[in-house]
């Protein structure tokens, strides 16, 4: 050998992740750590040790997310600034939500959620217009609107969290405790997952389809708020007063978000597949890419859904005295899990692709929807927190 292999390796070496980080990445990490430590010092008396663990775990996740998927840094900062702005405006008086201009029309949780709703619907139209008119500009507007809506949605949740504590200390809780709150969570998580794939594949053409399911969630949310007054903050029943809620529910919604995303991509897939030469085909990504997004979304959803179900079982063991009671919600979680397990086996080991799996993931969305909504509407059981 003419050259030493070590020398050659040095030549080909790429800088590691840490060396590739820029000043903004480090500022981001610093701000996250500072915020976390501040929260720890100020609120430690309200947290048990698990919750402190969750706090730091969240910080690590945020830093890692910001380093590996850069736009989340800006998103998190915007959410943080808007939330802090709202919290500062509120002070310790919940009534300011009705009197302060900014709170009333922008950043009180209810206003932020309304903004989120409006922006998601606008984004849907922008994406569809972009697709029909082949307008990249309109697609970019759609993208910007989706980012903004997501920021407003998260802000709404953050501020709602604070508002619950302003009502009373013992009412305060993380806003993932009922159907209204988790619908917001569903919308923002699904949107974030879509935005991730949008950046990854540098293609905005699927936006309209994915935002359709988010708009549907928004429509339900609005009906639920206006017709049923579901937006009122309610105190927690004793069973929900646990740190488990902070990890079980969001994990679950990453799963639901993945399944919803996959189903909407599957719809696009099926439309193109029906007329491969049709005018829609030229406006959407290749079949192969959609098939790939579908698989990735289901794989991610399945992985997180598994974790969520396991966390749920552990919580159940602590709250209800058994890790598995065949309660309708548990059983439906198992049904969803088995369904996507079958899907993954068909794809990964039977080598199925395309149309049948696309249909299957559309059907899968309905099964997921039933597990998420139907169980609360039609069946009674231990999970009856989010009745309609």
């Amino acid at each position: 050998m003419s050259v030493s292999s070590d020398y050659l390796e040095q030549e080909f070496k790429q800088p590691s992740l840490l060396k590739r980080l820029g000043w903004f990445d480090w500022l981001w990490a610093l701000l996250t750590v500072a915020g976390t430590v501040y929260a720890h010092i100020h609120y430690v008396e309200f947290m048990d040790s698990y919750e402190v663990g969750i706090l730091y775990g969240t910080a690590i996740t945020l830093i890692w997310l910001g380093w590996t998927w850069k736009p989340t840094r800006q998103l998190s900062l915007v959410i943080a600034l808007l939330s802090l702005f709202a919290i500062a405006l509120y002070g310790s008086d919940l009534a300011r939500g009705d009197s302060n201009f900014f709170l009333k029309y922008l950043v009180s949780s209810q206003s932020a959620i309304m903004w989120m709703s409006a922006l998601y619907v606008m984004a849907t139209f922008a994406y569809f217009f972009g697709m029909f008119a082949r307008s990249d500009f309109s697609n970019r507007v759609g993208s910007a609107l989706t980012w903004s809506a997501t920021a407003m949605g998260f802000t709404g949740l953050m501020v709602r969290w604070r508002e619950s504590y302003l009502i009373s200390h013992d009412v305060g809780h993380i806003p993932v405790s009922n159907l209204y709150e988790v619908f917001i969570l569903f919308a923002v998580i699904t949107a974030l997952m879509y935005l991730f794939y949008e950046g990854r594949y540098k293609s905005r053409q699927l936006g309209g389809f994915v935002l359709t399911v988010i708009s549907a969630a928004v429509a339900f949310l609005l009906w639920y708020a206006f017709a049923r007054g579901a937006h009122e903050i309610q105190p927690l029943v004793p069973a929900l007063q646990s740190y488990w809620m902070k990890i079980h529910v969001p994990t679950n919604f990453i799963g639901y978000g993945g399944f919803a995303l996959a189903a909407m991509v599957a719809v696009a897939y099926l439309l193109v597949e029906r007329r491969p030469e049709g005018w829609l085909a030229g406006r959407l990504p290749s079949l192969e890419q959609m098939d790939d997004v579908m698989y990735k979304a289901i794989a991610l959803g399945f992985a997180f859904f598994t974790v969520a179900t396991v966390l749920g079982a552990m919580w159940a063991a602590e709250a209800w005295g058994g890790y598995w009671s065949w309660d309708p919600k548990e059983t439906w979680a198992l049904i969803v899990w088995l369904n996507y397990a079958a899907w993954l086996h068909l794809r990964l080991t039977k080598g199925w692709r395309g149309r049948p799996l696309a249909w299957w993931s559309v059907v899968g969305l309905f099964i997921t929807l039933f597990a998420f909504l139907g169980v609360n509407m039609f069946l009674s059981g231990l999970h009856s927190y989010g009745t309609l």
């Binding site: 050259v3 105190p235 069946l379």
Partner: protein
């Protein structure tokens, strides 16, 4: 899961065929889907309800069919467990069959790959480079290891093969995630308590369906402390103890003995302003001979006590047999003094009433009843506490029962106090409320006095006589008319008092033509108001109220309310009104006690499952080969790769690697 297809042999044993069937992917996927569908049944059909409910819902025929299919306890049904068993076998076979091959595959670099097979790869590239063979190999190997590949080289004859792979550990994900299913099932099996199921199958253990004290439950329905795993519940009143729990089994229960005694010292419940419970907790004392002194611990929801492998959970709360003092005001003999009664929640009393034998079953006592002020106000901001209430059933000898909820304190409605009593025939109905006006002293006395007057036929008759007075002449015919009128009005009053306004309407329907009915009813009501009003004024006079200037607004309002109540009494269904006069609140804590030795095994399985799935999805095994053959003083480079799963991503990676490789070992210029 069968990544490898074994070469087909000419003759195969039955065992081999069975093994292949049980380990086949088709069976596995079918099982996943079938179990999912079967699970749906158990969520749609309420499980483990009393059998009588099912008979009522489905009729006797379908009840028998469903019972035979085990649909009322589907997750314990033999066929469902067999399905799970097949899934377990199928997964085990897959793991057993694939593990050796995966482990081998993780270690093997496949440096002995044939040029021909590399050429058949989907991802490949080929070019000539002026670099010599060993330099090319060194540069390629260096590049690949800088990109995270582990590299092996082999020179054979004139060829050099550089074989590299990455992410092989991801293949462990397969083993972990599938083995985890086996582990979870095993843990679940232990907690499913097969020995108990076996004893039950052989008839050695039988569910007790009668409502009898734990001590009287026969041995065949009692489980000793040897029982490995169970989950049961018990309700202990404050100050009470228990050393057993009840396990629900199909349409009955079993008694499970505990190796210690649980005492409930105190139970506390806190409420939100909405009346929703905020927290509830129990101060428990565990008495055990193994303990030097009793173990004291407070448990609450989400914070169980674990003692000797038994987990004790706070699951609910209820009444622990509050003692109740009541006054029964007879509605048929209202002139009688009320009957003083004493009982407890969860006890019953037998009474002989004007309408026959009645059993009073006291089912609940509530200290607070907090409801939204305005039923249409969903915001839930304004609430009102209606105070203590009792729930009881009044059962006739035929076994039919009406359920009542009576509030102890008079409730203000439109500024006037009423005793509220709700009645319903079945638990699925809403309560229909009777509002009985309370007098100034806060008792039903005055209403009862009016009712007594209305019941007193003599008094009613004389009142009617006075009212009719000299309305009619003194001749014989007029006298005749007059006495008929008196008779019929007296009957009308009696009818109203006995059956309420419904009775009057029915009477009109039976005796008056349809077109004049409404008019008749109106005149009946007028007459009734007249007679009862006169009785009421009489009553006021005897109370010492000065009615010379007319009846006060409050008193006349009372009369209207009383008349309303009277008109509803016919539908009330009870021969008495039960007034709660005093109580002593005794709370009971609902505990759930579980022993699940399989839990840690299940958790181990869950951990394996989570790790395995993430490894499987996010650590992809991929291989590349560089096959070098000397050519024209330089080297021919054949670059090929294959990725396990995630094809698109690997394709991208392959092309990026190829571009880098072409820089490291550049193509020979076309001019050469």
């Amino acid at each position: 899961m069968n990544d490898t297809t074994s070469p087909v042999r000419a003759r195969r044993s039955t065992g081999a065929i069975a093994l292949e069937f049980l380990g086949s992917m088709n069976l596995a996927i079918t099982l996943l889907v079938v179990i999912a569908i079967a699970s749906v049944i158990g969520t749609v059909l309420q499980q483990n309800e009393p059998y009588t409910n099912y008979v009522m819902k489905f009729g006797p025929f379908w009840f028998e069919v469903f019972k035979a299919l085990g649909l009322f306890d589907i997750y314990g049904a033999a066929w469902f467990l067999i399905l799970l068993g097949f899934l377990l076998i199928s997964t085990s076979i897959c793991v057993w069959r694939n593990t050796p091959h995966i482990l081998r595959d993780m270690r093997h670099y496949r440096v002995d790959v044939q040029e021909k097979s590399l050429r058949s790869f989907h991802l490949k590239a080929e070019w000539d480079t002026p670099c010599d063979r060993s330099d090319t190999a060194a540069r390629a190997a260096a590049l690949l290891s800088a990109r995270g590949y582990r590299v092996r080289q082999r020179a054979q004859d004139e060829h050099v093969t550089v074989a590299a792979m990455q992410g092989a550990v991801g293949r462990l994900g397969y083993i972990l995630s599938h083995a985890s299913i086996v582990v979870i099932c095993l843990g679940g099996l232990i907690d499913g308590n097969p020995p108990l199921k076996w004893q039950e199958l052989r008839g050695e253990v039988r569910a007790e369906t009668r409502d009898i004290p734990a001590g009287e439950v026969p041995a065949e329905s009692t489980l000793s402390t040897d029982n490995l795993s169970f989950r049961g519940s018990i309700s202990i009143p404050e100050g009470g103890t228990s050393s057993v729990v009840f396990l629900q089994l199909r349409d009955g229960y079993l008694v499970q003995e505990l190796p210690f005694t649980i005492e409930l010292e105190q139970f506390r419940v806190e409420h939100y302003p909405t009346g929703m419970p905020k927290s509830f907790e129990s101060d428990l004392v565990i008495h055990d001979d193994d303990l030097k002194e009793p173990l004291r611990q407070t448990i609450k929801v989400n914070h169980p006590l674990i003692y000797k492998g038994y987990s004790i959970y706070q699951s609910s709360f209820g009444d622990g047999g509050s003692s109740l003092s009541m006054r029964a005001w007879s509605l048929d003999l209202p002139h009688q003094e009320p009957l003083e009664l004493n009982s407890n929640v969860n006890r019953f009393l037998r009474l002989t009433t004007t309408r026959g034998e009645r059993t009073l079953e006291f089912t609940d006592f509530k200290l607070y009843n907090i409801f939204p002020l305005d039923e249409n106000d969903t915001s839930g901001k304004k609430f009102r506490n209606y105070g203590p209430s009792i729930v009881f059933k009044v059962r006739n000898p035929a076994g039919e029962a009406l359920e009542y909820v009576n509030y102890m304190l008079p409730v203000e409605l439109e500024g006037r106090p009423f005793f509220m009593s709700g009645m319903r025939a079945t638990p699925s109905e809403e309560y229909r409320y009777l509002y009985l006006p309370a007098d100034a002293a806060g008792t039903p006395q005055r209403f009862m006095a009016l009712l007594a007057a209305a019941h007193d036929v003599k008094r009613v008759r004389s009142t009617i006589e006075t009212q009719l007075g000299d309305m009619v002449g003194t001749d014989a015919a007029s006298k005749e008319v007059r006495s008929t009128m008196i008779e019929s009005i007296t009957r009308l009053v009696a009818l109203f008092v006995e059956q309420g306004i419904d009775g009057v309407v029915k009477h009109a329907e039976a005796s008056v033509p349809a077109e004049q009915r409404q008019e008749a009813i109106n005149s009946y009501v007028n007459v009734l108001q007249g007679v009862l009003g006169a009785l009421y004024v009489d009553m006021l006079r005897s109370e010492g109220v000065d009615v010379a200037q007319g009846v006060s607004d409050a008193d006349s309002q009372f009369f209207d309310d009383a008349l309303n109540t009277l008109s509803m009494l016919g539908a009330y269904g009870s021969p008495f009104y039960l007034q709660l006069s005093a109580f002593e609140h005794i709370e009971a804590s609902g505990l759930q006690i579980a022993r699940s030795p399989g839990k840690d095994i299940v958790y181990l399985g869950c951990a394996m499952l989570m790790v395995g799935i993430f490894m499987m999805f996010y650590m992809h095994q991929r291989r590349v080969w560089i096959y070098l053959t000397p050519r024209d003083g330089g080297t021919n480079v054949l670059f090929a790769g294959s990725g396990h799963r995630n094809r698109m991503e690997f394709e991208r990676e392959f092309h990026a690697l190829q571009a880098e490789l072409e820089q490291a070992v550049p193509r020979r210029a076309a001019a050469d």
